[in-house]
Symmetry: D2
Subunit: 335 residues, 4 copies
């Protein structure tokens, strides 16, 4: 924290700021400049809220200097985190995109198996599909629940694909952890702290989706919650943010990718399907993300999207997914 | 839903759209215009996702027409909902602002009682204070929990103020419901569907804060979740949205107030403290909201904000709260 | 500017940063902390772009400390700027709201005079009306041009109201300056630097609307442009920013009002009409702004809004404007 | 336009809406549904403002149906527009990315020629560089003006590269048109209608940057302005939008690319440099855009970015530009 004093601040104002810093047990360091004085706050174990100082007489501004996160930070842990599934047949991290694909929701064993076989043939390594669905309308399909998890287990058994599925609250997380290979936390739950803590106690990797309203700092702090409970197997997922635009459901924030790659050691994957909300944008966005050395793509694929019980309109047809993989190979990306 | 066809759409394209509508069990109504045809979708029991149609040949656009909510809608329920506390000593709804005030977090019995007495003297009818705190850092103070609820009960007993406090997840909600007069749901939980359902089963009124990322339609859909479980005692709370600005924590969306007043019969209150995040904006924003005939203001007040364990920098001093009430009375607002 | 070094930065990295600062002719001040070193940049005559430092080895972050504006800053000029019209019959500044009202566009002498008489009777002191209209469609009505300015002069002569009208580019500004009492610069021109410079050379006060995309710092920098050319008669105008919401054209940013009042000595007025874009939000927003001690309100009023050639749907009827003024008086605001 | 009536609307309300439509000379088409009536507006030559209807009794909503643009629309002109430079040595359009590169501002003949030779060697076909610079601070370098244009002409003569440079207002446009191969209009001028009209009268192609606040519809309407004056050589340029994020200057909106490719026949190019504002994001974003079959990339390159007079921190070093081109070739993109 750096506290910037007014040009006209009196010595007494500066003294009071220093006293307040010291009352908190921190160390104050005065930096007299040409026109004004600034005061650094040092030795604070955690980030300080700038607003503490903003109302004191003579204070012009208070500017945070350190980042609020530690465990997720590349500064503390320079090497890439690699997350292996099974016997490390699949490794997430290191810049080679792992494909995760499947329907928004698991609807039946036949549907799940049919789609799983298609996406496996195309090159996917991980099958995605929701058993518990967070839905913005109370009147919409809410997922098959435990039955859906059993279908996912069957898919793994039959196809050899690994499984990722969402835990929508901390109770459900017990059941999800039992069945899945990766626990997914959804965008609306990025700051559901009880769920973050529960996921932090899990023995399985966690894929954390960025809240559509969240800055990257807040996103990394949510990952910090999980890691602070002992689980260091966290995969970050960019899935679009809310902006003023109207031509897509959200805006995929690809500026965040190189920033996160520099700032954190955790793997980062991209979900083009939810960012788009419309099928025609999914393949271009998936290719764009793949061109940035992300660690994975998570894509919705459905064999009958017009009749899908959830998010059909953004799901690729299996042949489109095949075409996406083929385009990625044309770009010399190793799938 | 209105499906707008391309100028060059062929009769066969139009036929396919109509067939798809009818396959869903809805009714299609063709509207030939000068340059192009549009097709209305009728008799759909729930809102239809426009993206279902966007990829069909000859389709130019698909435009939602009906609103997704019903129970919260003024169209279905033209009279204002009034929510009485106790023996209707306090009634929320109808355009007279009820004042809710208190610290961000309950820190001790003495702190809570001292502040409660101050805000009561000034004119507040309801005491706010968090026992369970959602915090963006895992390293921050998380609230006193059950002990905090007991302190709140003591405050009610000693001062006669009604109590509002937050339930941060569906399990905690059991305990909160037992102690509080109004259950508060926080901005980060606006789409925590499990919690919304639990609150919908409560026998106490629920104050639902708007997600900082949520459109008003999504906000009303969250209230619909609560009402769909049988609880029609819902109070809406505008508390600021996330925008590109940097001079405040969030941007209070006062445009939403007249829109919500027209669109829904539920009471609407405003939280200027979280919208501001900085003390110097709180009183002006509170006065602005009060000028719009809102049904309440919920304001953070702390007697020692420099040492508050949570959100101190946006809390008013008790004398500032008194000054706010006095300004409201100068505006001829009946407190 | 404060440059924050990595924990692992080597002495050589720090040396290079200091050298770069000194190469620019600035002064570097090293601040060793517990975990890392920070380096202050002093004596830079203008704000420094943080990105200059972000790519240097060992640099973690670079944080701007000073504000980029000077002339508009209250720090440099603590007293409120007061802008008098005529023989100071009307003074803008000091917290008493001056009412400016009239149609979006001047359409005819009769229309302008009729509306002017109505708004004068209600309490307006300044008549607004566009002669040159910036329109987002090339096919829309573009204003009466010089003929419109002549009508405005006639309105002043007949009613005694002062006049405000928009200059849409630097050439048009010559003509507008001749006829008007206040030159208005529109939201889309907030960073039209040629126009800002021209307005800075004018002998008339300038009302500068905030760009719908602009931070307050950028807004103040645009005002700085005008003042840097010698015109210190600048009135700031908040008129709504672009956000993700859909229930209004823009979101009125009332958080900005107390921030600007603290940060700058210039008067600040509010335009609720353009922020709303819909009539039913205008009166509530106008009342909200007035409750914040703004220096003026600029409101669209039309006597036949259904047939207005521009922005009719957000214009108040004259009787609604009267009702607004009456509400303001009920709030003890002196009109 | 579709006007949606309330469930409780009376026959008289419907009649009034129909009358208002007919008064405007349009055609009303009533669509009775199960629960409510909707009324279509047909034969309106231009888009209708929904707000005209929103305040009428019995009206629930008014929803725009047609797009406001015509000339830019692919619906009206299905084939891609191709823009040839010189003797069609370079063609923009059709999905093969043309590289435009150079410094933010032309600083001297030597600087311009040195950089031009480097970017040509790497594969660029067009040299970019500003002679007139729009700067947010009145105290910053504003460009070399005419001298800069002469240097650009020299660059073309010496290297054979085509030239793109910005016209910052309609007067300057005369001079720019004389010297340049492509006239660039900047993000802040996207709705400078006088400049748009002037560019529409030019005999040279125009590259129009999207306003950082603009929806794609508004962006296309700005292009419509240019085309409506007779110039059909318009190149669209996505350069990032303003969002709540803080890790980059703007957020590159790549969702817009497939949408624009579907909606308009005009070529679309991407500017990763301004979207990023920080060097480390430029190459990843450029690769991402290239993976989407855009028609060009416009990239800032400087041989001494630490001393650049404008936007140095986002400029690539020449060797980084070479590395970008090499990465694009690795992706099998034909440069």
């Amino acid at each position: 924290m750096l506290i910037v004093m007014h040009r006209q601040a009196r010595p007494d104002d500066i003294k009071k700021v220093i006293e307040l810093i010291e009352e908190h047990g921190w160390v104050a360091k005065s930096i007299p400049g040409g026109e004004r004085t600034a005061i650094g706050v040092l030795k604070n174990p955690e980030p300080v809220d700038p607003a503490i100082f903003l109302d004191l007489p003579g204070v012009r501004d208070a500017i945070p200097v350190s980042k609020p996160y530690k465990l997720v930070s590349r500064e503390m842990h320079p090497e890439d985190t690699l997350i292996g599934l099974g016997d490390d047949e699949v490794v997430i991290g290191g810049g080679k995109p792992v494909l995760m694909a499947g329907p928004c929701a698991v609807e039946s064993e036949k549907q799940a198996l049919d789609i799983a076989r298609e996406v496996k043939r195309a090159g996917a390594k991980i099958f995605r599909g929701g058993a518990f669905k967070p839905r913005s309308s109370p009147y919409s399909f809410q997922g098959l629940g435990k039955k859906g998890l059993e279908i996912l287990a069957k898919v793994r058994e039959e196809t050899g694909l690994f499984i990722i599925t969402e835990a929508t609250d901390h109770e459900v997380c017990d059941m999800v952890e039992e069945y899945t290979d990766i626990i997914q936390l959804g965008t609306r739950n990025m700051q559901n702290y009880r769920l973050l803590r529960r996921a932090g106690q899990a023995k399985k990797p966690v894929l954390l989706k960025r809240g559509m309203w969240a800055t990257v700092d807040e996103f990394l702090m949510a990952a910090e919650y999980i890691m602070s409970e002992g689980n260091d197997q966290v995969i970050l997922c960019e899935r679009g943010i809310r902006t003023f635009t109207r031509h897509s459901r959200n805006t995929l924030d690809l500026n965040a990718i190189p920033y996160i790659q520099r700032e954190s050691h955790l793997p980062i994957v991209v979900d083009p399907s939810h960012a788009a909300g419309r099928r025609h944008q999914v393949i271009p966005l998936a290719k764009a993300a793949a061109a940035m050395d992300v660690d994975g793509l998570i894509v919705e694929v459905h064999n009958d999207p017009q009749k899908a019980l959830s998010d059909g309109p953004q799901s690729l047809y299996p042949e489109q997914f095949l075409q996406l993989v083929s385009s990625l190979r044309d770009m010399n990306i190793d799938i």
